[in-house]
């Protein structure tokens, strides 16, 4: 089922959660709503689910307007950040809930319910935990039960609110790969909310980057990472150095004074040398070196006192033999330049 969100506005008191938001989600895609807290991403998800209603604007499923339909009528699967499993029901009863509360004439037989739940238990690899209660499961297991419960009613769309937000780093990584795999198998239109850029970039087909109640950019992970449309997107996706400067003959020059345009340079796109190199290099002093991990992270300070973050390979680091407190010359290999008013 495709989802179309048109010119949604939503205020909570005087706070504007969503400010004229439009978004098209083609059928079968896995889309991430990415943004900092307070950017309106969860509100947008809840409006799509029918748990919240917009002040104006419309939501369509497959071209049909469903703005006035309740969550119950929309046939969506919703996975809550804190799982929201029914604590007094077993895993089996939790997953079967959506089938058992159907009106009598649509209620499937006991055998069908049992078969369906067992099939989902296999899918989430918890066949042996059917009779356990949520409190007896780990966080990752609970999240998978929540997902199975949402899928049991065969929803047209699957909505996930910070699905891995309350899990620890290792389980998170496993679970998000598993989710991607699951999506490739089931092919249900899915939207998930996250504040974690890695998660959004790794799992989704497309990413909608949100900030202060607006969508800043929608695109494939590659597009939003490599061709950010706004300074915010550049800043939010990955580490970045922010300078003032200008572009002249394909070279980016960094200025000391806050004049010219905004220049964003990713740490791995800065080159460090011991001697002045290209004409756009500038002087800095190394302050801190972290050589643990695949990339060496170097913190330096320019002559005018601005911090610079540089990343380089271990190989390059070994040939340079840098130490802290040394004078170096830094030049941008590639940069994104935005005019002061924010346009690219």
């Amino acid at each position: 089922m495709s989802i179309s969100v048109r010119n949604i506005r939503k205020n909570f008191g005087r706070f504007t959660a969503l400010d004229d938001v439009s978004l098209e989600i083609p059928a079968g895609q896995l889309v991430a709503l990415l943004g900092p807290s307070g950017s309106g991403k969860t509100t947008l998800l809840r409006i799509i689910a029918g748990l919240e209603f917009p002040d104006c604007g419309a939501v369509q499923f497959d071209g049909t307007d469903i703005t006035d339909r309740t969550a119950r009528e929309r046939r969506v699967g919703f996975v809550f950040q804190h799982y929201a499993l029914f604590r007094h029901m077993t895993v089996f009863e939790n997953i079967a809930f959506g089938l058992r509360v159907r009106p009598r004439e649509f209620r499937p037989s006991k055998e069908y319910v049992r078969a369906k739940v067992n099939e989902l238990l296999r899918l989430i690899q918890l066949q042996n935990q059917a009779n356990r209660y949520p409190s007896q499961l780990s966080g990752g297991q609970r999240q998978r039960v929540a997902l199975a419960r949402a899928l049991a009613v065969e929803p047209g769309v699957l909505l996930l609110d910070e699905p891995f937000g309350s899990l620890d780093a290792k389980v998170r990584l496993e679970l998000r790969r598993w989710l991607r795999q699951l999506h490739d198998e089931v092919h249900i239109t899915s939207v998930f909310v996250t504040h974690d850029q890695d998660e959004a970039l790794e799992v989704s087909d497309r990413v909608a980057v949100m900030n202060e109640g607006r969508i800043e950019q929608v695109g494939t992970p590659d597009e939003v990472y490599n061709q950010p449309a706004t300074p915010f997107v550049y800043n939010f996706l990955g580490n970045v150095n922010l300078f003032h400067g200008r572009v002249d003959h394909d070279r980016t020059y960094i200025h000391e004074a806050p004049t010219g345009d905004l220049v964003f340079v990713r740490p791995h796109l800065l080159d460090i040398a011991r001697h002045p190199g290209p004409p756009n290099s500038f002087r800095a002093t190394t302050r801190h070196i972290n050589a643990a991990g695949p990339l060496v992270k170097i913190e330096a300070v320019t002559d005018w006192g601005a911090p610079v973050h540089v990343e380089m390979s271990q190989e390059r680091f070994r040939t340079l033999r840098l130490a802290t407190g040394e004078i170096v010359f830094i030049s941008p290999k590639e940069a994104a330049v935005f005019q002061k008013n924010g346009a690219a």
Partner: protein, 275 residues
């Protein structure tokens, strides 16, 4: 030091709680089992027991429905006048029962606001069973709502919203999700409500008129017997109320034990084991 404190606590409890309880049962059986049974089977006593059961039988279910509705409304929704409603629910706690009884007299009594109209239509509320039932309802109505409210508020809306997205209707959500989660608090609220409904003296005393065999509840009947120097008979009836109190204590312990176990489970669950 510890021994001293323990001793003080034990002596205090013994003197003020266990001793009176012992005396109630001791006095009740002073003239033997047959006298005890006879005191309870005496027509006026039977009528008082019947009236008490009637008042509690009406007040408790009504306050159960009202309390659940009010706690659900206050706990799950935001609306204007919420704090006013909470204050109103607490009103019977803060007003002396005698005053609430008097309010009914002023409202339904012969010289009261609605008195003449009720007279004209031949409806008796004061000094009759309806007045006693009304007073009992008023005095006991905070119990269920007050027990449920913190529980419902603590649980938030997540599970209800999950039920909604899974296609459950309002009633299904209430009976299958909300109610099972608060059942122990609800049971405890009902028990407290019932204990008070059966034991209420002040408000009922004002509206009853003390007509023997007609408008006396158990507490009022006990008073009448006591004033007539029928001490043993008074204590025999009183022992029934004392038994109710003991039963309430037992159920309360069970409920609290269960609630603690549930809390411990949730606490263990929120520690988030990795796998």
């Amino acid at each position: 030091m510890r021994w001293l404190l323990t001793a003080v606590a034990v002596i205090f409890l013994g003197a003020f709680l266990l001793l009176p309880l012992g005396i109630v049962f001791g006095t009740a059986f002073q003239k033997g089992l047959s006298f005890y049974v006879a005191s309870l089977r005496e027509p006026d006593a039977l009528a008082a027991i019947r009236l008490t059961l009637l008042a509690a039988g009406i007040a408790v279910p009504l306050n159960l429905v009202f309390g659940v509705a009010a706690a659900w409304l206050i706990g799950k929704f935001e609306f204007i006048g919420k704090s006013v409603l909470i204050t109103l629910i607490d009103l019977p706690f803060s007003v002396s029962p005698v005053v609430s009884g008097l309010v009914y007299v002023l409202l339904f009594g012969m010289q009261g606001l609605l008195g003449p109209w009720l007279m004209a239509h031949n409806i008796r509320i004061m000094f009759a069973a309806p007045g006693i039932v009304l007073a009992t309802i008023f005095v006991t109505f905070p119990f269920v709502a007050r027990e449920l409210l913190p529980m419902i508020q603590a649980q938030g809306n997540d599970e209800e919203e999950a039920a909604l997205t899974l296609g459950a209707g309002g009633w299904q959500t209430f009976f299958r999700v909300t109610l099972p989660n608060v059942k122990w608090a609800l049971l405890y609220g009902v028990i407290l409500c019932n204990a008070r409904a059966m034991g209420e003296f002040g408000a009922v005393s004002v509206v009853s008129g003390h007509i023997r065999g007609l408008t006396n509840t158990m507490p009022l009947h006990i008073e009448v017997l006591y004033n007539d120097y029928q001490i043993v008979a008074a204590f025999a009836v009183a022992s029934l109320l004392a038994l109710l109190a003991l039963l309430t204590l037992v159920v309360k312990s069970i409920v609290e034990w269960n609630a603690r176990r549930q809390l411990a489970q949730q606490a263990a669950a929120s520690e988030e084991p990795t796998r």
